[in-house]
Amino acid sequence: MIQCDLLFIFRHSPYGSSLGREGLEAALAAGAFEQNMAILFLDEGVWQLLDNQAAEHIARKNHQKMAKALPLFGIDKLYCSADHLHQRALEAEALAMTCQPLDNSQIKQLMANAKNILSF
């Protein structure tokens, strides 16, 4: 079953606002404290998973590289919306990291089973 105590929901793009980076930093902190956690990428948040990001062109830290640190912090329950990938013509295989696409009812189940949600 798809279950976690602390669910992070990332809905924003990696560079368009501060939420992309600050959400990821909060998730890495939760990983360091060994929480039973998961991350769900929705809406523009799925762009965080895109491969071949080259943030040096806008003088920013590479979000993709930061996101790849998640498994090193023991964070391996990574989910995304299959619908939201599809709307953006993205394939799960083209993403920079392994992330399980969920359908709408699986997403609802994940949210319902969470003890707390932090949304960025």
């Binding site: 929901i9 523009e44 997403i107 609802k108 949210m111 319902a112």
Partner: protein, 93 residues
């Protein structure tokens, strides 16, 4: 059963994403610019599962000139009561 808090107006993707992720038994609370969606919700253009239990913060509605049937408008004490009865709490913004 999740409490969904919507603080952006209906034209915002946070609002649309919120109402598409409501489950049976969940509650939707409109605050801030989310209250602009209240009459749309009551008139039935939302998915039916999202319309089961919809409330709007009274102070935010009055401030913006949004009127609705009184039963849909709640104050901060009732907002607190909703959060004590529902978990988790998901803010769509």
């Amino acid at each position: 059963m999740t409490l969904h808090i919507l603080s952006q107006p209906p034209s915002h993707n946070a609002f649309q994403s919120g109402i598409s992720h409501v489950s049976e038994g969940d509650v939707v609370l409109l605050i801030n610019d989310g209250v602009y969606g209240l009459n749309q919700a009551l008139s039935g253009t939302w998915p039916s599962v999202a319309r089961q239990a919809v409330f709007a913060l009274e102070q935010d509605s009055l401030a913006r000139g949004i009127t609705a049937e009184p039963s849909a408008l709640i104050d901060y004490d009732a907002f607190v009561a909703l959060t004590s009865r529902h978990n988790p709490i998901q803010s769509w913004y």
